[in-house]
Subunit: 311 residues, 3 copies
Amino acid sequence: MIKAVFPHKDLLGIRNLGRDEIVMILDTAESFKEVSRRPIKKVPSLRGQTVINLFYEPSTRTRTSFEIAAKRLSADAVNISASTSSVVKGETLADTVRNLQAMAPDIVVMRHACAGAAEYVAGIIAAGVVNAGDGAHEHPTQALLDLLTMRQHCGRLEGLRLAIIGDIAHSRVARSNLWACRTLGIHARVCGPPSMMPRDLADFGEVEVCSRPEDAIATADVIMMLRLQLERQGTGLFPSLEEYARRYGLNRERLARAPADAVVMHPGPMNRGVEIAGDVADGRRAVILDQVENGVAVRMAILYLLGGSRS
Amino acid sequence: MIKAVFPHKDLLGIRNLGRDEIVMILDTAESFKEVSRRPIKKVPSLRGQTVINLFYEPSTRTRTSFEIAAKRLSADAVNISASTSSVVKGETLADTVRNLQAMAPDIVVMRHACAGAAEYVAGIIAAGVVNAGDGAHEHPTQALLDLLTMRQHCGRLEGLRLAIIGDIAHSRVARSNLWACRTLGIHARVCGPPSMMPRDLADFGEVEVCSRPEDAIATADVIMMLRLQLERQGTGLFPSLEEYARRYGLNRERLARAPADAVVMHPGPMNRGVEIAGDVADGRRAVILDQVENGVAVRMAILYLLGGSRS
Amino acid sequence: MIKAVFPHKDLLGIRNLGRDEIVMILDTAESFKEVSRRPIKKVPSLRGQTVINLFYEPSTRTRTSFEIAAKRLSADAVNISASTSSVVKGETLADTVRNLQAMAPDIVVMRHACAGAAEYVAGIIAAGVVNAGDGAHEHPTQALLDLLTMRQHCGRLEGLRLAIIGDIAHSRVARSNLWACRTLGIHARVCGPPSMMPRDLADFGEVEVCSRPEDAIATADVIMMLRLQLERQGTGLFPSLEEYARRYGLNRERLARAPADAVVMHPGPMNRGVEIAGDVADGRRAVILDQVENGVAVRMAILYLLGGSRS
């Protein structure tokens, strides 16, 4: 494989990526999908490179996806989770990552509850930084795996119609996808309780706000259901789980209002019976597990493009 | 080594294994023991394969044993423990493992508090599933390492006399061993407080119940002491630790009532002074550490037979 | 690289190392520093060897440093942390490590809250044991990385003047460094609240006690600031953080009293504004991140010398 040159040290968000850069990542990911289907799922691309997964928030799927991606590239993967880390000892984030940098990692994959944390760290350390989620700000590898899944199922990205339904305001997944929509010319509609609509929606370009999910999905090629953060119950953001499910959840009846070939996405983990009905999640239009499979490929691509470009 | 063909996708329990299958696993394990005694303890058998250790209950020895087994086979091992996983976010077990499957693991090693969890998962995912303990149901690799240890010390399995002493009803170790006894023609005697005897003992074939440990061990080739779950204190299952130790614990005096060449086993971790006296645990008749050593070999064999057969 | 022969099975402390042994470790570490600067940061020295990191106390930097060191030597690294281990089940430390030994590790790296824990374990198991901190007793790899850093910045060790400031009595870092001073002919001065001075200081040879940090650093080549254990607040060992910072903390004004070429060290994690001012920590005389970089090299050296000598 001839190595494309990715012109950034880090992957911090979708917002500042150009169209060609996104396409380069997706094309690279496409070529890595095949590796995970071989009997011997391993390429030597990042042999002798060190990837640190620094997670300040608990995560199974994202951390595991990055760890598997790193190992299939032959990198050494080291996991650090905040619960067992010296952050409890009162060290600053800057000192923690400067210390890690002194151990000469090639890439630091980082999840943190604060928006901007990854960018802050990227400015401090020489290693490439991959934002694996920073507060309600960005989650770029999630958006990239979403885009790869859309492209595979719809054959293109430009001109697609995407409906995102749920808590847009607090969702880094939604935000990263909306930046991608702006850059790639995807028509986005969002829908959710008014209390869950962001105030800065205009920043993302021409995003249509629909008050009813039926309107959001009516012409959609792709329906993206967001996870309802159950810990938000009782905060006044929405009346009840039942009410939320009835008003915004994607069940069979509601899905019937969308075009017949629209696909259903969800970033996981799913609350079955809340934002998505079980039969829709398991139905033939759901591409949720394709998203997960593409997640490994996208993360291999990112690690390869950032790590490889530095060796 | 010529590869034996193991005719199952998963290892869920001992109950459904045939005699020849058990012997095949033990023979394969025997051949792997030597690997852990080399200066370079590594063979390339599972290079480029991914083994996920998915543990919903805390474990040191079993998880470590599987992880070391995977790495000595050159597999990529990924650990997931429930305490840091998205199970806390309310995702169903089925969704969690479908997600893991989408990352293309070859084998998922799984421990879960619910009986039947591994079998349930095996029916959902394409990867091979190894049951590393499911509630009080089965713990097949423990029984297999017990069998390997018995065979090495007694020279055979058929016709052996095994005494299992302790909380039979709540022990997945006991249950897996009792299934093995039925299949392999090992004579089993069990002993413990009446409250700790299972109601379905007849299912395991001809198991003798002894009310006094002296009777259980009188003609035993192998004495297997079970760990007393200390958290069961005060539940009425047994009067007190002291009483339990005096009535059922294996001390030197009691061991003297067994045949002179009987060996003593324990699945660990041991409560010294409760179910087993310290001098017995450390005595020359204890083969408890042989069990642990055989544990790595048996797990290498299982990963090899399940993983290798799929590549 | 021609292999030096390290005449010990374990690294338990600095106290019992001879001058030549310390120098051998530092020289070996020097040769490994270059590995972490390559694009492919990996040598095959410990391929097929198993290194277990057994941490009974939380740690980010030390565990990560050992894990990275092991992986760059191509060893298989297995992490066990007490919070998820069977120690919660009441197993003795001796039984836990005998069990690990039965899995045939080559080296066990161990941190434990009890002084003497590593030595106790080393007497039980055949694997090499590396003490990664045992209570307030020793932390030999920290002292070795400190020595390597001093030697690099000062050009020599014998005759150097080292000031250690802080809670000497409770610091395994200070104790390991003081043993090194005695063996290598480094002149040590210590300073801290009287409640934090050890009673057995005479054991370390000629250590000068200064009541004021200005006196301790007046002629120092190296100033080592110790971390103040914040959990000691309110125990009467020192009046308040502010008072401690004012009396003993290293700020710019105080540092100006030291020789112009004195370097500043800290074992981390730092309490900025307590034992060390932020501008000193970030200043050009601080060699704190060099210490961390040297930490990986020193740990590679130790694993190599202990592991390699046994294969």
